[in-house]
Amino acid sequence: MSALTDDTLPMTPRAMRDEMIVFAVMAALLAAVPFTGIYPFFVMQALCFALLACAFNLLIGYGGLLSFGHAMFLGTAGYCTAHALKVWALPPELGIIVGVAAAALLGLVTGYISIKRQGIYFSMITLALSQLLYFLYLQAPFTHGEDGIQGIPQGHLFGIFDLSKPLVLYYVVLVGFLAGFLLIYRTINSPFGEVLKSIRENEPRAISLGYKTDQYKMLAYVLSGTLAGFAGSLKVFVAQNASLTDVHWSMSGEIVLMTLVGGLGTIFGPVVGAFVIIAMQQYLAGFGQWVTVIQGVIFVSCVLLFRRGLVGELAHLLRRSL
């Protein structure tokens, strides 16, 4: 089995410094967005998907597990947060906790089932599980079926920050994204992350070295699902609705596409990929179903022509890890 990412550079102080510089530049650029006249709603949406793609990338890029059902975390957390805010009238911070906790619980349950099988079977199982949830949400009364949960109150975060003001909301989403991103970055570079990479490269060897690989994969899966759920909860405040689209298999496909375009197993790739795909959807919205065709073409050309993705190719050219 050949590895998904071909050049894994060892973690050197220089690589660490490079990555911190890129991170600082990214954070500064994103913080400056409200002063540039760019439509903030678009950037907020892209940030939610960027966090989602980063969470997905933790699993595929570092654990070698391709989940084809990550939309289930996005949708589950979204529905739970939306329900908590609208029906239980909880404040935003508790609403987010409800959503994230639901995603973590879902991660525990689905992880227990899907980690039993590897490779291609893992992908098919996660896809089938998310389809199962899709049908459950279609029938469950609290999701309001095809209509979804709409008109969700945004409220005041910690009683201070008024999330109905776009500028406040933007910075809250940005802080959420950066926190999630740093958590993933820390995980990748921790001893835990190193073991995960060794499982990706050669699982039998990792087992022979005494690692209980199933436990590592499980933890990575739950962490990835929880963070994807966090992205879903944040998205509720941006979109002010939670609908079946977020649980559909085509959403899972989009998450895979974003990460693939940016670069599997790169640190900044999923962020770049999410912005590219969301921007594409924005500008091509008038072309109807051709957007699906274009997404398919991007999938095919990414797999056949540049498997490293945008950031991966750049990193390869510069011989740096990004």
């Binding site: 099988r117 079977y121 992908s123 098919m124 089938a128 699906t292 997404q295 073409v297 095919v300 056949l304």
Partner: protein
Amino acid sequence: MQALYAQLLVGLINGSFYALLSLGLAVIFGMLNIINFAHGALYMMGAFVAYFLLNLGGINYWWALLIAPVVVGVFGMILERTMLQWLAGLDHLYGLLLTFGIALIVQGVFQNYFGSSGLPYSIPDQLKGGVNLGFMFLPVYRGWVVIFSLVVCLATWFLIEKTQLGAYLRAATENPTLVRAFGINVPRMITLTYGLGVGLAALAGVLSAPINQVRPLMGADLIIVVFAVVVIGGMGSIMGSIITGFALGVIEGLTKYFYPEASNTVVFVLMVVVLLVKPTGLTGRAA
């Protein structure tokens, strides 16, 4: 009781499609090491080819049963030659991603021209009407679909397990390099295998056209159910795929009668149960 038998029949018909599709997936996986995500889209293409033949060329159902699998099979072989063959030696996941992209393209193009609604395809004259079996009324076409699918499944099983060609095929699955050393053109066999697998999908598409209408997304949800079927049955055995496919169709039909709310989800729930009880799937081999 009438309703129970009717749902059992619907279950058997869905089971025929599951069996034909999971059979194709298993054959393709054996040779190419690829899970063909485009299988649902190619199933849909089979139905559309039959629709075009009838409405543009005036060519009837019986010819469509022959022509549609060949047309889609050739299309599949072109896909294999131009794209899939370059994935040899890469991680299996790339095959899944590539064929997912192909499925998006094919379904997207058809959606652009035909929207999402269904196009009618009428039952051929010879198979119209029904027979009263005493305990139930059997529409002839539905009975035909079940029997014909069963025959095709068994023929495929015979081809792979009992003939010389099938022996080469199984040998090439185990050790392609050695089989090539004996002078057998393995790449060509891989191409033909892919053609055979998607041809089976297209055949299922033609069979379903008079029952389910012809829709661009008719294969999109179906393929996910078939994945669950494959996880339950495992891809190690041809006969296993056939039996699992029919059995799950019947169980789904029974669920429609006893607890209709769960009919969409029962296959997925069964998959979860099988994974909890016997993680390697029913026919055994671990992946």
